[in-house]
Symmetry: C2
Subunit: 336 residues, 2 copies
């Protein structure tokens, strides 16, 4: 295994993937974006227009619609929508370099495990903190932050869909330690690569808890914003909605704790409240998907919490209700 990376591919290069790919490319690292035709064609013709730090920069980097391009990469930024994770992971499985590292830059807590069930290479979950948008093909706008938290995936999560947080006892402990040490070196190499590109990366042993915290916030905002087509500030202005959001957070924390993740309820509630103040004009990605008639990630947000809650015997009626209502909107928009 190498502990430096020669070439990166971004699979599912929308706004988020294109941003991080462009940051690596402008630091001199070879990057190929793999995404939809209009965006890829615009980049191939004119480069990627990156609105960033108050200016606009043209970033030249590879752009293709063909998954085959992952063959050349030893680092893969996996950025597809959660709904496509399994099928895309299955498609790239036979194409990946033997020692490639796959970094999942996705919402939800189950994506890295879902990828790992399809491929033999190392898969590392990343918590993504960035506000970006793609106003038109070939153009990516950066609004805020742009940092990552990465860390090892729970072995148990891969084996059976995150049944609990217990350690995998089936392997020899010494072998485990060696593998853990090797993975840690690779994570530090990822951090060095991004750091050199101006993207802060924190390596955390507790990345899963951090993913759960982000999931918790998404569960409290995404569905309600989608159902009302209202931004976070308008939601927070109605006390009945804040009560519902608090109920969502309590359910997510209870399910996370049953999964062995250490989320504190008070901190979670505070983090939830802070979001509406920090981003009052934000419409959730789920709201944008519904408005555009596109499938949402709700099965991996409130739907995931409801399913895991049911499996673990933790009641999650509010998450279940929000999930069902967004599913109903999806069918209304697609089959009307």
């Amino acid at each position: 295994m190498t502990s430096t990376f020669q070439a990166t591919a971004v699979v599912g290069a929308g706004a988020v993937g294109s941003f991080f790919g462009a940051m690596l490319a402008r630091s001199g690292h070879p990057v190929t974006l793999i995404g939809r035709a209009p965006h890829m064609q615009a980049i191939a013709s004119h480069g990627l227009q990156l609105h960033w730090a108050g200016g606009v920069e043209t970033v030249r980097l590879g752009a293709t619609t063909e998954l085959d391009a992952v063959r050349d990469a030893d680092l893969v930024l996996f950025c597809v929508k959660s709904t496509d994770t399994e099928s895309v992971a299955r498609q790239i499985a036979p194409l990946l370099k033997r020692d490639a590292l796959v970094l999942s830059l996705q919402n939800g807590v189950d994506n890295a495990a879902a990828i790992a069930r399809q491929i033999r290479q190392d898969v590392v979950p990343a918590v993504v903190y960035v506000a970006t948008a793609m106003p038109e093909p070939g153009v990516v706008k950066h609004f805020g932050r742009g940092d990552l938290v990465i860390g090892p995936l729970d072995a148990a999560a891969v084996q059976d869909g995150a049944q609990d947080g217990a350690q995998d006892a089936s392997q020899d402990a010494a072998q485990d330690a060696a593998r853990d040490g090797e993975l840690l070196q690779r994570l530090q190499a990822v951090a060095r690569l991004f750091d050199a590109a101006g993207v802060p990366v924190r390596v955390s042993p507790d990345v899963m808890a951090e993913l759960w915290r982000k999931l918790m916030v998404n569960c409290a905002y995404n569905a309600i914003s989608a159902l009302s087509q209202l931004p976070y500030g308008r939601m927070a202005a109605l006390p009945e909605i804040v009560d519902v959001q608090q109920a969502v957070v309590r359910e997510v924390v209870a399910v996370a704790q049953a999964e062995g993740q250490h989320l504190a309820l008070d901190a979670a509630l505070q983090a939830m409240h802070d979001i509406a103040r920090a981003m009052p004009a934000q419409l959730s990605s789920t709201a944008q998907d519904i408005a555009r008639g596109k499938p949402t990630e709700i099965d991996h947000l409130n739907g995931y919490v409801a399913r895991r809650g049911a499996a673990l015997g933790i009641p999650a009626p509010v998450n279940q209700t929000l999930h069902a209502l967004v599913k109903l909107l999806e069918t209304a928009r697609t089959a009307a």
Copy 2:
């Protein structure tokens, strides 16, 4: 007290009130509708056009926008939206005949008690089973049924907002029995009056339980239809939504039982399922209110169950969530 009625006023004459008023009027009983100007003006000019039993009939009856017209009535059909119950009851209180009987033909289980807190006259809840619409001012269409269940209001419900189903022990038992007997005679007089007009009326000692059963169905359908703007058949086609509806029913039945009402869960679930099959194309009244930017009755449907549940220590998170979401849609439509 008289046990026959000389004149009826319909307060809040929309589609439902105009239908029952017209049925009484065409049987020869004096009726005055009190409602909004366009509908009243059309009726005053051309009579009420009643689409009924495959034909159209012109029914002549009084029509005014003035609440003052309740002065002449010994029977008042109270048909305003639940949101207006308290203020309209307070307005008619000084106008009502001393021995008038007020029949609440409204959704929800708390309207008759709310009226009774404002006036000294007898108030009787009615469960209304009718499908009607008012396609334009002066025109009422009848689609199905058209019968009522009436019965005595719980004394306890009036005193303190339906704290429980216990009997009021503060009055002398003999006096109670005399009052009960007198009220029963008046209910039978109401039944005779409507029966003579072709409107079946059942007098039931258990009218409150029947109101709760109707509330349960409304709680399971109205909010979800409003949030999705979809009819009942489309809702029933999504298993996740049916799960949510079942959760709603379980919560309503638990709250009703804590109120001392005898609702059976299995029968309630069956009744809930039957509605989608019976009315697959129906959009809820709440959905229509939201679509028209009008205030809804949600505070008296899921909102009532959530409030009573909270007061009684019965969890009702799904009703609470649906209530909050519809409130959010109301603010979105009215303050956008």
